[in-house]
């Protein structure tokens, strides 16, 4: 991934020297619209942080846009249409819904505005590149982490499992769940006995988790596919003092989830790199606007955070974007 960033940086430089050798890096007139799924979550705030960091380095303007809820598909379509009408230099967008955003993204491309899709894909190929966590891979890693944890605790990879989906109909969550279930086939001893779909409601996540634990007293592992479910499952486990008995692996990095990792309630967090999505997204967008060609898909990577590595400097920036230190190659 780092290599790709370097490549991008280099190509931007090259493109510029070719076009305007006299004024090497004046992008103050460039404006990049960064559109996320919801302006109201920590995760997307981190994408914005990354985008702002890139904007500062490059000296360009960005607009940070998004609906207030990830369920508001129509809202994001409207925002995208308005963005196209305002003719920015380029657009960075995370598609709330793959089908609904396909046409607006294709329209932008047709209107000559390069589009970098981040985090969640759309059902179209008419954009520059897709820069994202491979959610399927994240799910796979979650299954592996759970198997490792269960093996460490019980000596064997066997027992009853549950998984929690935060919201129905969200592509990235579907991919995580699919990766998790696909990988679980490698561990025939692990059987799914419960699955609940929530509504991104923290109280419901907690209630569902409590009830699953009631119904399945022999549960050995839980997979929670976002931070709301992770918080809920973690609270239920610590409420019932089952933190050391049931393995819990969750996506994301809410402050409560990090506490749970430190307390040993959550065994592993599957952590994406939203900062890099925003940061690289803006770099790529500018480069694409100057004619740089990118591969169709760029993996922004997933990391596994456990109690063992949670305090390591490598993870600090992932857990708290304010501590994100860019490598010397990427800084000014």
């Amino acid at each position: 991934m780092k290599k790709l960033l370097l490549l991008a940086a280099a190509t931007v430089g090259l493109g510029l020297t070719a076009q305007a050798p006299a004024r090497a890096a004046d992008f103050s007139k460039a404006r990049i619209d960064v559109i996320v799924k919801a302006t109201t979550s920590q995760y997307w705030a981190t994408v914005f942080d990354g985008a702002r960091a890139a904007a500062k380095v490059l000296g360009l303007q960005i607009s940070t846009l998004g609906a207030t809820s990830e369920a508001d598909v129509a809202g994001e379509v409207t925002i995208m249409e308005n963005a196209i009408a305002s003719k920015p230099t380029a657009i960075v967008i995370a598609a709330t819904n793959a089908a609904a955003l396909a046409k607006p993204i294709a329209h932008a491309t047709a209107a000559g505005i390069p589009v970098i899709v981040v985090d969640s894909d759309a059902n179209t190929s008419k954009y520059v590149t897709f820069l994202a966590t491979n959610n399927h891979t994240g799910g796979v890693k979650a299954a592996d982490e759970l198997a490792r944890c269960i093996k460490a605790r019980t000596g064997k990879v066997a027992g009853q499992m549950a998984y929690l989906t935060a919201l129905a109909g969200a592509q990235s969550l579907n991919d995580r769940d699919k990766g998790f279930l696909d990988e679980l086939k490698k561990y025939p001893g692990l059987k799914i006995v419960a699955h609940r779909t929530g509504n991104n409601d923290p109280a419901r996540a907690l209630t569902d988790s409590e009830d699953i634990l009631t119904r399945n007293p022999h549960l050995v592992g839980i997979f929670a596919d976002n931070e709301i479910e992770g918080d809920g499952a973690g609270t239920a486990l610590s409420e019932k003092n089952l933190g050391s008995k049931v393995c819990l692996v969750s996506f994301d990095t809410s402050s409560e989830e990090i506490n749970f990792v430190k307390k040993g309630v959550i065994d592993a967090l599957i952590v994406q790199n939203p900062f890099m999505m925003g940061y690289a997204g803006v770099w790529y967008a500018l480069a694409a606007a100057h004619g740089v060609v990118f591969p169709h898909y760029v993996d922004s990577g997933v990391s596994v955070v456990t109690k063992a590595n949670i305090d390591s400097p490598a993870m600090a920036g992932l857990l708290n974007p304010k501590k994100y230190t860019l490598t010397p190659f990427l800084g000014e």
Binding site: Q42, T68, A194, R196, P217, N259
Partner: protein
Amino acid sequence: MASAPATTPSGPAVADEAQASSLRHRLPVEIYVLGFTVLVWVGLGVFSRYFLTAGNISNMMRQVSIDAIVAFGELFPIILAGIDLSVGSVAALTGILFAMMLAAHLPVLLALPLTVALGLLIGLINGLAIDRLGIPAFIVTLAGLQGFRGLTYLVSGGMTVAGMPSSLDLVARTSIAGIPTMFVLMAVIGLVSHFILRYTRLGRYCYAIGSNAESARRVGINVTQVTLVCYCIAALFAAFAGMLLVSRLTMGNPNAGVGAELQAIAAAVVGGASLFGGRGTILGCFIGSVLFTTIGNGANLLGVSSFWQMVIEGLLIALVVYVDNIQKKRQAGVR
């Protein structure tokens, strides 16, 4: 005036008798819903060996508490023939501010009254907009549903607020005589609400305004005052729920209380309240909340799909309103 009237008395006596007896035989909806809830309990007791365990019952008691408190508050505007769609967002806003105050190491005993005051202020704003500006309650509180949620995201930056003091666990994780403390708090709030509605002039005026606001005004009831009090109660109880959610989730979460207003309205309606006003009881609200909690719990314990659970809840609301309507028609037929 003690003597009997000389002329023929009005109305055939037979009809009067029939009517009196029909009134006696018209059981309140609460009773049917209670019966249904008991049936569901028996069914779940048979089909899930975990349902009637002490652990599960104590879980359900904690789960129902917050929903019921919101529903109790919601009942007041509903009786007035109004509605408060903002309670879920108010719970989120008050909850997140409560959590932020605690995270900033403010003592609970200071954060609590501040949060309560905020709840009352919001209720006052809702009530004034409805009564003084004459904007329909539906519109005012729809704006609140959106606006207060927005404020919640604004003040929290959309992030959860962790780092709650351990003293908060005193509410969410303790029991009094084997009954979860949250349930006890809910019961106290419920009893006070019941008392207000059943035994005070304020309560009586709520029903009077809800069934005929104009007549209430004509007999000299201060409709404005009662309206303000009702919306303040709704928002205050939402603030209680918001704080209890913080204690239960051990954090402030800006997504807390999403859809709580609909849950509360559903519980009130299933418990016999009418959205046309004038009807509804705290006991009914409580039974309605218990029924919804039971269905959720049952679906989880039986592994029924979350989607079927929503369908069942929807059918239930439709069924209760249908049964209630039939009863009303039958009653009107006697007239």
